[in-house]
Amino acid sequence: MNALHLLPGIILAPFAAALIMLFVPSTARNLIRGLALAAASCSLALAGLAMFLYDNSTKGLQFVEHIGWLKSYGISLDLGVDGLSLPLVLLTAIIFFAGVFVSWKLENRTKEFFVYTLLLVGGVFGVFMSTDLLVLFMFIEIAVIPKYVLILVWGSTRKDYAAMKYTLYLLSGSALAFVGLFAIYAYAQNPQLGLGYGTFALSDLGRINFDPQFQKWAFLVLLVGFGVLVPIFPLHRWTPDGHSAAPTTISMLLAGVIMKLGGYAIIRVGLGFFPEGAAYWAPVVAILATINVLYIAFVALVQKDMKFVVANSSISHMGFVLLGIASMNAVSVSGAAAQMFAHGIMAALFFALVGQVYDKAHTRMIADFGGLAKYMPRTSAAFLVVGLASLGLPGLFNFVPEFSVFVGGMQRFPVLTAVSIFSVVVTAIYVLWVYQRVFFGPANPRWEGLVDMKGVEVVPVVLLGGILLVLGIMPGGFMNIVSGGIAPIVQRLASVSTGGIF
């Protein structure tokens, strides 16, 4: 099985395509698109194969690759996936694939656009696959930086401000997380407390029982550092501006995967290494998560721009991930991990559809629309599907992780969870209200002759919507993989005796 070398294939596809693309003249747009599509198909096929071949009876890290790098410093470029990261790898591949189709008709600097996008995607793959903390961190930076250029050059709506805001927020978070990383490294080097040798290998670090006092502040540092990516209240303000300013594909990747990097790192590093620190800060995280969920839902209620509504809903939904993490039991953390996947697909589809409308109508202001269902029936139907997924309708996948988070959360923070569940009402209001104002009601003659989506535009919608539907009906196998992946982490959490901060 390991002879297949799936993981290097997945990660090299985008990087190699980016490299080849550099030698292609920028006028050969179709060749460039073809290259990007080839890379995306390759990654998607391999990631799908990995998901299929993943042996859920043995669980644990699989498809491991030892590449090695700076061995003397304990840094090595090792790859491997488990039940937590594999779905996220697949998620990235899916959104990447869908994103290529969404950007198919981009004419402005096509080559540069795809080169940066490929770099970004390669970086994200690296984060989810690397089993070395420093390499993981490095890949986060690779994923984050191209986005600055992508927003600045191809964006809209206050793009200068948004690009700078996004970059500053994320780099500040990274700086803080970096401090935490080196604290871990130094701790490992200490012969009395740690291992006696410096290493960034996750498996080695996982063996250390960190001192509770150290755990408390180290977890906090990582929480704030990676929390910016999630984003956690009150560090969430880069999200609406960043999402809205970014071009459609980039919004999809931003909401679909970049936000997941933070959640992934918090689960992998924060919960994995610092169970007691996590237990100590859990009430704070739970409160912030509840604020995320409900506060932002209310904010989304009054937005005037469709993309701002969707961006805010992303923050709100990521609050469930935080709530799942804070509740620290098998059901809730499985829910959090699966919610990252579910929300990734859903958000990507949402942005794809908003982009679809924006490309045709050149406006996203809700008040400009009305009765669009008459001219764009397919878009309208797809928008309803994703809207329903967003408000957690059973039958679509998002419901399953949300319900798991609620069941898990209710066991630890009953009141906060109940308050969070209330967001299903607010979400229903804002989603259906937007839907009503844009697609229902008397048709606005201004949009007469608007062309419904067709051809390649339909591909991402069918792909993403199909995944939501299929997993919504049969979530069992998927959730098995996820719950197997988080089991070792939760195992450690279960033995924690430290109480919460309050």
Partner: protein
């Protein structure tokens, strides 16, 4: 039997998929697929019902749907998808597929020529699937899943004419109002699961009576009950149902009268063991039901739109059912659900027939339909008499059962509420009939009325079938049935002890008299016009205004939405933009401003830079050498 129950559920969804995927262009084919599938479900459910009457042992099977193993002291999550066939679900499935089948047949005529014809039948199939799924579910979780899907199909069908404002608004209102209830429902079932470790009805039925913490159980029961309150539109969640009348009329008959709104009643019956364990919650259910019954009946008195009158009547009757359940008789509640499904579907389809002919919903703009539309008229009258509770029609038996239950269980106040509601019901229904069907033409200036005509056979046939059922459907709960067949409704569907049918004349006679009084008063005012209703309205102006505005509940909710939720949203948005962004942007500006000031020390004069460098070096050297030269003075 399990396979059959699954097949029963699958058939409509298969129809939905077929219509959406292939048949959308051929209207007749779409309708055909939907009708055949629902007909199949009807046949299967009838078979199941008969099998259950023969041998009422519940049949239950399930397969694992989702499992997250527990680690440490916390509960894992285990969800199964299962089917439970027992008398209750067999009966409900039969009602659902029967009404759905009739409504689909009726719709072929009603929706003729509509551009969304295929879409309409697809949605109806989706609804039938969801509703049947809800009925045969064996656990709270699956019920919740289908509960939401039912809500979705209701949303789609209310908003069927989506390019108009009113249906779009009404569909959203329906979904959102239901969500408020579902919020409580979801919290309730999660707590239930965490307490008992299972969602399964059968397993819970064994565990709940043994549970000691009644206070907590009451909390769970109340939370679970908010779901039915939303779906069955009980006060204070009732606002969506009248607005839902913006959907096509057959939809109102199927979803918003006979089946979906009864899902709440069904759920309470299904989860009766939970509510029964907490007497206080039973009391609450009974009072909410009773209050809604009289509250909605009062509003129905002054409505002018034929569908809205029926909608408020539905609210009122659903209240009746909850009254029965809350008073402790699951049998009476389900019996009324059954008969109500027949006569209310009949009334709505009759109203649809009228609307189809006139394109007019205001009863004061209709007149003399009795001559032009005889079948519609007389089936409508039968339905109204049944609804009014006149002997020996279906409504009589079930209403009698409810009043009897209330009295038997010492709920005297609720009994009187029931009686008054019965009076109001008879009055508003015959107000409608005397005005719309038997009014004199000369008094109406509309032109629609003149070219009214009887509807086609595909529409009148379901009316006749339902009319027959509305007449004889109640007999299954009558003492005669016991004499003839040795059993009755109450010995087939019951909780705890079987409830054999009997008739208490002390209850039945006053109820009948009251209903006749209501009809008589309606005749006096609207039939013979001995008292002008305008004059009456003028005399009771404040009350009339209050009722016309439906007790201002909608206005209150609109106010809350605008001034609480939206205002809160605006405030939070303002905090986002001004306070949080302000803080971070302020940090940025502060950095810039600081840089602006600091750059002034860059004079560009190399020699001053050198001076600073050497000064600093000297300082460091002196500090480092303090130890060598004896250190600072201690």
């Amino acid at each position: 039997m399990i396979t059959l129950a699954i097949l029963l559920t699958i058939a409509p969804i298969a129809a939905y998929v077929l219509i959406v995927a292939f048949a959308q262009r051929w209207k007749a084919l779409s309708a055909g697929i939907a009708i055949v599938a629902t007909g199949g479900s009807l046949v299967i459910s009838l078979y199941l019902l008969i099998a259950m009457i023969g041998n009422p042992t519940p049949v239950h099977d399930a397969m694992q749907w989702l499992r997250i193993p527990h680690i440490g002291g916390f509960r894992g999550l285990e969800i199964v998808a299962g089917v439970l066939v027992d008398p209750l679900s067999a009966l409900m499935a039969t009602i659902v597929s029967l009404v759905a089948f009739l409504v689909m047949v009726y719709s072929v005529g009603y929706m003729k020529g509509d551009e969304g014809f295929s879409r309409y039948f697809a949605y109806l199939s989706l609804f039938t699937f969801s509703m049947l799924g809800l009925v045969v579910s064996d656990n709270y979780f699956m019920t919740f899943v289908f509960w939401e899907l039912v809500g979705l199909s209701s949303y789609l069908l209310i908003g069927f004419w989506r390019l108009k404002d009113a249906p779009a608004e009404a569909s959203k209102k329906a979904f959102v109002t239901n969500r408020w209830g579902d919020f409580g429902f979801m919290v309730g079932i999660i707590l239930l699961f965490l307490t008992f470790g299972t969602f399964d009805y059968t397993a819970l039925a064994a565990m709940i009576p043994l549970y000691q913490h009644l206070g907590f159980l009451a909390l769970i029961a109340v939370l679970v009950f908010t779901g039915p309150m939303g779906k069955s539109a009980q006060f204070p969640f009732h606002v969506w149902l009248p607005d839902a009348m913006e959907g096509p009329t057959p939809v109102s008959a199927l979803i918003h009268a006979a089946t979906m709104v009864a899902a709440g009643v069904y759920l309470v019956a299904r989860a009766f063991v939970l509510f029964h364990a907490v007497p206080n919650v039973m009391e609450l259910i009974a009072w909410i039901g009773g209050f809604t019954a009289i509250f909605a009946a009062l509003i129905a008195l002054v409505q002018k739109d034929i569908k809205r009158i029926l909608a408020y009547s539905t609210l009122s009757q659903l209240g009746y059912m909850f009254l029965a359940l809350g008073s402790g008789s699951m049998s009476a509640g389900m019996f009324h659900l059954t008969t109500h499904a027949f006569f209310k579907a009949l009334l709505f389809l009759g109203a649809g027939s009228v609307i189809h002919a006139l394109e007019q919903q205001d009863i004061f703009k209709m007149c003399g339909l009795a001559k032009k539309m005889p079948i519609t008229t007389w089936t409508f009258v039968i339905g109204s008499l049944s609804l009014g509770g006149l002997f020996p029609l279906a409504g009589f038996w079930s209403k009698d059962e409810i009043l009897l239950t209330a009295l038997k269980n010492g709920q005297v106040a609720l009994y009187w509420i029931g009686v008054i509601t019965a009076f109001l019901t008879a009055f508003y229904m015959f107000r409608l009939i005397f005005t719309a069907f038997f009014g004199k033409e000369a008094e109406v200036h509309g032109e629609h009325a003149h070219h009214a005509h009887e509807s086609p056979a595909s529409m009148t046939a379901p009316l006749i079938v339902l009319a027959v059922l509305s007449v004889i459907g109640g007999l299954v709960g009558s003492p005669w049935w016991t004499q003839w067949f040795g059993g009755s409704f109450g010995t087939f569907i019951y909780f705890g002890e079987p409830e054999p049918a009997h008739i208490d004349l002390a209850v039945a006679i006053p109820a009948t008299i009251v209903a006749l009084l209501g009809i008589g008063l309606a005749w006096v005012i609207y039939g013979a016009k001995l008292i002008k209703h305008e004059w009456l309205a003028e005399r009771l102006r404040p009350l009339h205004t209050l009722l016309e505005h439906k007790f201002y509940v909608d206005e209150f909710y609109a106010f809350v939405f605008k001034w609480v939720m939206l205002l809160l949203g605006r405030i939070l948005d303002w905090i986002d933009h001004r306070v949080i962004d302000g803080a971070f942007d302020g940090l940025g500006s502060a950095t810039r401003a600081g840089g602006g000031k600091l750059r002034l020390i860059q004079s560009g004069k190399l020699q001053s830079y050198a001076l600073v460098i050497f000064g600093a070096v000297a300082l460091v050297v002196i500090l480092l050498s303090t130890n060598l030269i004896g250190g600072f003075v201690k």
